[in-house]
């Protein structure tokens, strides 16, 4: 049997088995999910690359699935993160209700994602896309909190996106009567398709929804927050990347090969790219601003995810080799660090009961490993050297600067500087500050939850010095997108102007300086070193009582909020609310056509009959 089909089959049948097995034991679904993902992973990594090719002719349509080098990058992300998250989920979901549903949908969406990246025709792409969407929808509403804001919004926006895609697919189909992506690319290169521009815009619209680009992002914060953490890691880490994958498909695989003789198209291609990049930049900035006023850690991370996806979008939309590389690098990194962060927040939620930063503080001594992974991920997120986040940020900036998008650089820089604010917020809010009696009982999460996070954190550290480990698959993937001969080095970054950054030197310097300082500070005067608790602080001589918590948590960035108040005034959600209220009123008005009165209906029939007769006799 075909390996690719087998992998998908394992995941889908695993989903069903997991769903049914809940009746047997509460513990079983998580185990089955873990086993099926492991099996899929083993199958994927032990098979030679050329077997991932699957063709099926069904219902008059040809379905083609194929994992090329570019898809392979995403498959790595999907399988890797899903595997770790499912390992984590075994411990995380312990003692929770309705695990069967959760793992059913989790496996289904993982299978859906694999299908998306493997799909080489638009129908199977769409099918898997929708499977992924509704299964993730079911997980988003799994906790059932705030169904309308979370579930319906997610589904409506997803449906908008999906139907825009479907519309675009139909447009392309009506032009060349094929769904096969390779054939479409070939056709684009040869001839001018009348609906290509509209179709591309619609496709990008659809992908923007999943990538939570600015006007379409409103579903994301709630959905990310409401989904259980084990899944949010996948959701934010790879599921949202499907939007990025799609954008790359449209912008880099399809439009880039457009017939160069078609000047308007080439022009529009660049134009679309610029618009998209600017949307990405604005998304990054605004989402960052909203992230830093959140008090719930998961919601903060949710906004942060939106912002990060903005960066990634920029890179894809600009479309230079460096920017695409940066974008893909950031995409993988985002999967790693946001995955870790959501998992860590899940651990906090499980152990301490909440992720509301106004309620907990000072967990660093209670959950040191969780703190460690959070710290590493946050440093990566903020892009501070020597961890991997810096590499991605550097490449993105250099790509933008060398490409002449200078104002975009400033916007991006602004948002990534503002990102320090929420980075600190999340570290401080949960792990630092004063220790409380309420959280005295909190213990570190079990090993099965810690292990996946630590693995990802170590990867982030390693990639900080050896980004080449990741450049290798990215460069191979970019070959598929038409960027041949992308040069990369194991530890050296360089831009088109020939400026380089040698990460080896940076890491070494930091390492040497840090070790020296560590030795100096630790050894010197260690006899006089005194341990104090977090209550022993200089508060003008006042002694905080046990139940008094002086940690600064509320209105954390109030001064900044005040300074940037014009940017906070307009809320996108309000606009959508107004829109939906308006539509509601319109619907209500329309509904009144059905008066419930038989005479009216009879009147309708007569009027209609007469009108139709007159119309037909006059025109036909």
């Amino acid at each position: 049997m075909n390996t690719l089909a087998l992998i998908l089959l394992i995941l889908f049948s695993g989903a069903i088995v997991a769903f049914l097995s809940e009746k047997v034991s509460k513990f079983l679904p998580s185990l089955i999910a873990f086993i099926s993902i492991t099996a899929a992973g083993i199958l994927f990594y032990t098979s030679p690359a050329d077997v991932f090719n699957f063709k099926l002719s069904m219902a008059g349509l040809n379905f083609t699935l194929k994992i090329d080098e570019f898809s392979r990058l995403f498959v790595h992300m999907i399988i890797g993160l899903s595997w770790l998250a499912s390992m984590y989920a075994v411990g995380y979901m312990q003692n929770k209700e309705r695990q069967g549903t959760f793992f059913f949908n989790m496996l289904l969406s993982i299978g859906g994602m694999l299908g998306i990246v493997a799909a080489r025709d638009l129908v199977s792409f769409f099918v898997f896309w929708e499977i992924m969407t509704w299964s993730s929808f079911l997980i988003v509403v799994w906790t059932g909190a705030d169904f309308r804001r979370t579930g319906i919004w997610y589904m409506v926006f997803s449906a908008m996106g999906a139907y825009a895609m479907l519309m675009a697919i139909m447009m392309i189909y009506s032009d060349i009567h094929t769904f096969n992506i390779d054939e479409i690319i070939a056709a684009i290169a040869e001839q001018r398709l009348p609906h290509l521009v509209e179709a591309s815009v619609l496709l990008l619209f659809g992908f923007s929804v999943k990538a939570a680009l600015m006007p379409l992002h409103v579903w994301a914060p709630n959905a990310y927050t409401q989904a259980p953490a084990a899944y949010t890691a996948i959701f934010s880490g790879v599921l949202s990347k499907m939007g990025i994958f799609g954008m790359a498909l449209v912008l880099l695989s399809m439009l880039k090969f457009a017939n160069p003789a078609d000047f308007s198209l080439v022009y529009i291609n660049g134009f679309i790219g610029q618009i998209l990049a600017w949307l990405g930049a604005i998304t990054a900035a605004i989402a960052t601003l909203y992230a830093l006023i959140q008090t719930d850690a998961k919601k903060l991370l949710a906004y942060s995810s939106v912002a990060q996806l903005g960066y990634i979008t920029i890179g894809i939309a600009i479309g230079t080799p460096l920017s695409v590389m940066a974008s893909l690098f950031l995409a993988v990194l985002h999967a790693l660090f946001k995955g870790t962060l959501f998992l860590a927040m899940g651990a906090v939620e499980r152990q301490a009961g909440t992720t509301d930063m106004t309620k907990i503080s000072g967990l660093i001594r209670r959950m040191p490993w969780t703190f460690f992974v959070t710290l590493v991920s946050i440093i990566s997120l903020a892009g501070v050297p020597p961890l991997a986040g810096f590499v991605g940020k550097w490449m993105l900036y250099e790509a933008l600067i060398t490409n002449g998008n200078v104002f975009m650089v400033v916007v991006v820089f602004f948002s990534s500087t503002a990102a320090f604010l929420y980075s600190y917020r999340i570290l401080f809010g949960i792990f630092l500050g004063q220790e409380e009696d309420d959280t005295a009982h909190v213990k570190e999460a079990p090993l099965s939850m810690i292990l996946p996070m630590v693995v990802m954190a170590l990867l982030l550290i390693a990639l900080g010095t050896y980004p080449g480990l990741l450049f290798d698959p990215i460069a191979q993937g970019m070959t598929v997108l038409g960027f041949e001969n992308v040069t990369w080095q194991m530890t050296v970054l360089s831009n088109v102007w020939g400026n380089t950054v040698n990460l080896m030197y940076i890491s070494t310097t930091i390492g040497v300086a840090f070790v020296a300082a560590l030795l100096f500070l630790t050894l010197k005067g260690r006899k006089g070193s005194r341990n104090v608790g977090t209550k022993d602080i200089s508060t003008s001589g006042e002694i905080p009582l046990e139940h008094e918590n002086l940690t600064y948590q509320l209105d954390f960035f109030k001064p900044f909020e005040r300074a940037a108040s014009p940017l906070y005034r307009r809320k996108m959600t309000k606009i959508y609310d107004d829109l939906s209220n308006g539509l509601d009123a319109l619907f209500d008005f329309t509904r009144k056509i059905y008066t419930g009165n038989g005479q009216t209906y009879a009147l309708y029939v007569v009027i209609f009959l007469v009108a139709l007769l007159i119309y037909v006799q006059n025109t036909l």
Binding site: G528, R530, N531, V532, D536, S538, S540, G541, E542, I543
Partner: protein, 181 residues
């Protein structure tokens, strides 16, 4: 006294010299004396030329200034601040009130003798001492540091039981953290 200075090693001498010339002052502004501190620090008397500058928190401070009478309520905070300072630390007490009660000798809530609760290096008498006197006091403290016998922290640690007993006599509801250095 002189012998102690002579017996210092070079390292100790340098350390004491630096301590002497860099006094970070935690001005605990009790009583009337607080008003003398600005005068001492600013243009006219300029204590900064002696290396004296203000410190915002006890963690950074070297010198604790008690600038006048201490109510029992305040004493608790003073003890707290004092204990939070890092060794070596010094205490300068201003005015008559800290010496023996001063005009508040018969008050029901003002302590009379500061020495009983925390060790004091230098008393500056007067009600209140003028900035000249304050600077003279600082000079004396500097001499003491240079000699190497400003051992305020050590004294407190060694006689902690006695100090604690005195403190607890005044502060009835004792809810202070343990002193751990």
């Amino acid at each position: 006294m002189e012998t102690k200075k002579d017996s210092q090693t070079i390292a100790e001498y340098i350390k004491n010299w630096s301590r002497k010339h860099s006094l970070f002052v935690m001005a605990y502004g009790t009583g009337c004396g607080a008003i003398e501190i600005p005068a001492t620090m600013t243009s006219r008397y300029d204590a900064e030329r002696l290396g004296i500058r203000g410190a915002a928190t006890p963690r950074q401070a070297d010198v604790l200034l008690i600038t006048g009478y201490l109510a029992t309520k305040t004493l608790k905070r003073v003890i707290r601040v004092y204990e939070q300072m890092q060794d070596p630390k010094y205490v300068i007490a201003f005015g008559s009130c800290t010496i023996n009660g001063g005009m508040y000798y018969d008050s029901y809530n003002t302590i009379n003798v500061l020495e009983k609760y925390i060790p004091v290096d230098v008393y500056i008498n007067g009600c209140m001492p003028r900035p000249e006197a304050v600077i003279a006091g600082f000079k004396q403290l500097q001499d003491k540091i240079a000699r190497g016998d400003a051992d305020n922290g050590t004294r407190y640690k060694e006689n902690l039981d006695w100090y604690r007993a005195n403190q607890q006599q005044v502060i009835k509801n004792w809810r202070m953290p343990d002193y751990n250095w």
